[in-house]
């Protein structure tokens, strides 16, 4: 029952997304550009040995770009859901045998597919244009990014549940998501933050995503990041449970 219509809806939503003039550009091209352009700028003038030793270029920037991919998926989801709600599209879909969870699952699958596609594009372009070679375990890293995205998409649903109108969806989403990146340990390791900020970093879900992504990129085993995965699953469970309570269909 749950599956009825899921694949067709997913396929249609994917096509619709790609028909948006700016939708695909914003979510797919911008993270890849950030990755390549910042990498080139930072890498300019550095000797090959210094480049290889630079942890931001080696690990930080690829992970930052990946987090941007995930965050832009979330923002896009928030916008779409609020537009669908405001336009009565969600309500129209609900007045069918479609289950609510099928409607939302279709959007999650579309976002995960786009995340994977953007990551693939970034890594492919990186092989050619990134100043240092990309030697990360690609399959594992993709899985890690999909787990991270899936987890923070649930935050997206929570945001989509509380934003009043579609017009505010993107700014409110950005206002919540981007500061999370600052505290996530991407720029400064969590351990070197002042205690108050450390405590903050521990409750920011992105921190666990960053830790997982950095570790897997460096070649850590999954077993050393089970805590991160568990935290991300917990975030998903909590956010999904809360949004199931507060989500408005119209």
């Amino acid at each position: 029952m749950m599956l009825r219509g899921l694949w067709k809806l997913t396929w249609i939503e994917l096509k619709i997304f790609l028909r948006e003039p700016l939708g695909a550009f914003g979510t797919i091209v911008i993270p890849v550009l950030v990755f390549l352009v910042v990498g080139r700028i930072l890498g300019r003038g550095l000797a090959p040995s210094a480049l290889a030793a630079n942890t931001f270029i080696g690990v930080g920037l690829p992970v930052l770009a990946s987090v941007l991919i995930a965050v832009s998926s979330v923002l896009s989801l928030v916008t779409i859901i609020s537009i669908y709600r405001e336009g009565g599209i969600l309500k129209r879909l609900r007045a069918t045998p479609l289950r609510p969870q099928t409607i939302l699952s279709a959007h999650v699958i579309v976002k995960l597919l786009l995340t994977a596609a953007t990551l693939a594009l970034m890594l492919l372009a990186g092989k050619r244009y990134y100043p240092v070679g990309v030697h990360a375990p690609l399959f594992e890293f993709t899985i890690a990014l999909l787990i991270s995205t899936w987890s923070i998409l649930s935050i997206g649903f929570l945001i989509a549940s509380i934003v009043p109108t579609a017009r505010f969806a993107q700014p409110i989403g950005a206002f919540i998501m981007y500061p999370m990146i600052a505290f996530s340990g991407l720029f400064t390791p969590v351990e070197s933050l002042p205690p108050a900020l450390q405590a903050m970093a521990r409750v920011v879900p992105l921190t666990y995503a960053v830790s997982l992504l950095e570790g897997i990129w460096k070649g850590d085993a999954w077993s050393s990041h089970l805590g991160d995965v568990a935290a991300l699953v917990l975030v998903f469970v909590i956010c999904t449970a809360v949004s199931a309570k507060v989500f408005r269909w119209e």
């Binding site: 219509g5 948006e20 009565g88 045998p97």
Partner: protein, 305 residues
Amino acid sequence: MHPVIQVVGVRKTYGATVAVDEVSFEVKDGEIFGLIGPNGAGKTTTMECIEGLRKPDRGAISVLGLDPFRDVYKLQDRIGVQLQQAQLQKRIKVWEAVDLWASLYQKKAIDAERLLEQLGLTEKRDTWFMNLSGGQKQRLFIALALINDPEVVFLDELTTGLDPQSRRAIWELVRGIRERGKTVFLTTHLMEEVERLCDRVAIIEHGRIIDIDRPENLVRRHCPERTVILATDDSVAEERFRAIPRVEAVTRSDSQFTIRGRGDDLVTEVIHCLSENRIRVTDFRTILPNLEDVFLKLTGHSIRD
């Protein structure tokens, strides 16, 4: 026969606002049943409770023997719904929407291409929803409401915002739905829509149903007044007209007479009088009250106020 829709004592409030209260009615198999009232009267709330989209605070509803709220998925499988002011994804193509809807129901969908053709949408099958005209969008929503060959079709403010020509075309479609043996439940604030389409109608205001019957019975019951306007130069006419049974008033301005009375027989009586007395008339018109007058009489205001 068991009614297709049975609503008993339904009440629904939003905060302190009572949207509908003590609403009860039945819809029979194969009829077009209309719920008419001004905006905010509780039409959509009533309809959405019956469709299982809202849970009434009190009262009982049964549709095709199902509890719409508890058995919402079973019910959705057997009904077709057109919602007021609904939208689809801006960039979904007409055929994609129909194809998606066709895949959602257990029962095998009806022939989608034929449905599009019947609704005059074949040429628009590759057009994005956002590029359709208001009438085309409405026809697409009708297609989505019919795709599963439903037993009951719900149409909420179907022709609001459409030009008269599209409106007539859509009325024709709705009559076609009834001819295929479906039951139709619709809401509207257009008296003409009810008079042209509905077998029976419930008048709703401030969340309460004021009266339910066939449109002509409502008119007969609440507005028995009839008026005949005619023109004649006959000098004895006025006297003769006053002698007609049931005539309550005769007014005259030059050669034009306005004859008022009560009951369906008034017009016949006037014609009879004209022929019996060989009165030559140069003009003859009747003014019959309509649902608009019924509404005015029952609520004290026009439906558009």
